[in-house]
Symmetry: C2
Subunit: 416 residues, 2 copies
Amino acid sequence: MQRILSSQLPAHPHETVTIAGWIRRRRLLKSVAFLIVRDAEGLSQVVVAEPETREQLEHLTEESVVEVIATVTPNEQAPGGVELTRPKIRVLSAVRSPLPFELHRPALAAALPTQLDHAALALRHPARRSALRIAATVTAGFRAALTEQRFVEIQTPKIVASATESGANVFRLDYFGRPAYLAQSPQFYKQLMVGVFERVFEVGPVFRAEPSDTARHLAQYTSLDAEMGFIADHRDVMATLTRTLAVMTEPLFEKPIVPAEIPAVHFTEALRIAGAPHDEPDLAPAHERAVGEWARREHGSEFVYVTGYPMRKRPFYTHPDPADPTYSNGFDLLFRGLEIVTGGQRLHTYEDYVEALTRAGEPLEPYGGYLDGFRYGMPPHGGWAIGLERFVARLTETPNVREVTAFPRDLHRITP
Amino acid sequence: MQRILSSQLPAHPHETVTIAGWIRRRRLLKSVAFLIVRDAEGLSQVVVAEPETREQLEHLTEESVVEVIATVTPNEQAPGGVELTRPKIRVLSAVRSPLPFELHRPALAAALPTQLDHAALALRHPARRSALRIAATVTAGFRAALTEQRFVEIQTPKIVASATESGANVFRLDYFGRPAYLAQSPQFYKQLMVGVFERVFEVGPVFRAEPSDTARHLAQYTSLDAEMGFIADHRDVMATLTRTLAVMTEPLFEKPIVPAEIPAVHFTEALRIAGAPHDEPDLAPAHERAVGEWARREHGSEFVYVTGYPMRKRPFYTHPDPADPTYSNGFDLLFRGLEIVTGGQRLHTYEDYVEALTRAGEPLEPYGGYLDGFRYGMPPHGGWAIGLERFVARLTETPNVREVTAFPRDLHRITP
């Protein structure tokens, strides 16, 4: 008999059906026993009145996998208005060890390290599953929005020859006897691919040998990258990003959370709003929170762009603001007071790259394959990178990014 | 004035428009000059009769990026039935170096290593762009087909603590002072996630420190992975894979290339078809080609499943064939005579894993986080992995996987 899902039960009253899933809970009362079975779609309640099935149930423990053949019986008190009666239970996989923590409570009670040690089990909790489903939803929305806007998906190398993008915080590996590094971002490659497709995006892992042990840093995270050519400046990039974020978040909320136009403040104005000294080179987390509060108060927006970061704090490929080249055409997007996107306009002429690298005291040779793209003609372009786990943590109001990551990697953790 | 794309020109006869793109070719005739501009959608022909514009054109070289404001003039001989006349040309990015090879010929004439050295340029050739677009199309189809079938997208770690899945061919890296490895596949993680979502998929990079220098091996490639629970055996996996492949390839061909049911032969029968000795443990490339030929001849199919590979050649997590446990419930899918997918049913009880690892002489401790999933209840399950670049190479009849990979990594190559 074909297995059906818990969500399909109400459509089969009085029929004999097969369900399958994990034992979420057993309740062994005196005259009757209840078995709650979890599957991909929800829960089913199984009523056990028969002595031999009850005895079988007494020997089964939570998270064992069972198949149940039973009759669908309407019962207003049961979840979905139906329960399963007169069950035959077949065990597909029996759990014989005690669970390290209980899964059926509203919140996981175990300490976070214990949860992460037993990620295969902890991820089955509804809160953890929900966060990962949200990650899948916004990722699908990212791709759908960009495909719709003529972006082409690319896959780029994660192993690179030189630690060029930023000297520190790279993982070094042995590449057939030669030193190599894990890519910190697809930045260079997505820019080169603008020369091929004009507009590209990539969803993939990036690696940061980040010595910070905080609630928002991971050694591997998922970056949602996009890059687009033939722009006037960074404002074209921001407009595309705003449209993309609207599609990404649309399925999650009844009322749209992305305004048609996200408020934007210049960096110098952001410092003023945050009450920071006017010569600060960057926004500290407390400043970001203050700007986030301001946007909510003044514009009713949970999102706010900060534009025009000082050139000295942005990477060498950043395009300066033509009106005042000490500031850049780079931006950050804050969501609920936290930076979740970095983006901007990039340099696009070969001459500008040579000058920028020379000014930074960098040799040109390690950048050879990258500079090739600009030597052979690149349009004005720009793009952004969204940190998926940070965004999902903020969307779900989860304090630690590790709680919305399937198997996080950090300074101390490399298993499971 | 808003830029329009080459494909939009026929909709604007006699209007003044702005286009932008790369100079594909110039033809400087005596009385008139032609400029062919390439953008994301195709080519535009610009006719230059004005002396000052012609002089400007004489100083511009191929691949320079230009913006052209001109009049759309119907001309039956021109591509798309229109050409651009009375142009004003603005240079967005001038190429001042000679190109290492020409891009406007039907095939790239440079040797493959030269193309790969200048990938940022070579990828602009129509043949290379087309292959990467096909990769994007089949990847999108993979996700669409699986999402439709209740699979949830996951992202899993690419840095792992032990080289457990297969001892050799792993890249070793320095993880905050400890040894670690790049994941050869998401196998263990996708299996664990069956315990969370029942059905999962992942599109991501996998890493093989593959010493083979062949036309079909890469050190990094894109793996299209899926895993599903509550199956009867590997045939449920094959049915889902067949449906998925049909969606993936549907946009590429006028006539569907995936039959409703892909022919399947048992390994022992495949050996007989290939004329190989009956005690061979695996299929050699020549055997795969022979089986591919047989499927085309006998079933009119370019795809053929080979099932029941001997257990001794499959990984420890492979489920044996209950009817004869020297053979497995593992399969390969051959496409045009080449293996492009490996899949099968996996073991699912904790006891079976302990026994399989013990039989293989493996300590249990490095598998701790993996075994956790089975200790705490896992349904019968199975899945597959498609090698994206190999599949695209076969689809486009390209001899070398490096030609369909944006920036390939192999034994000798780590740049650009």
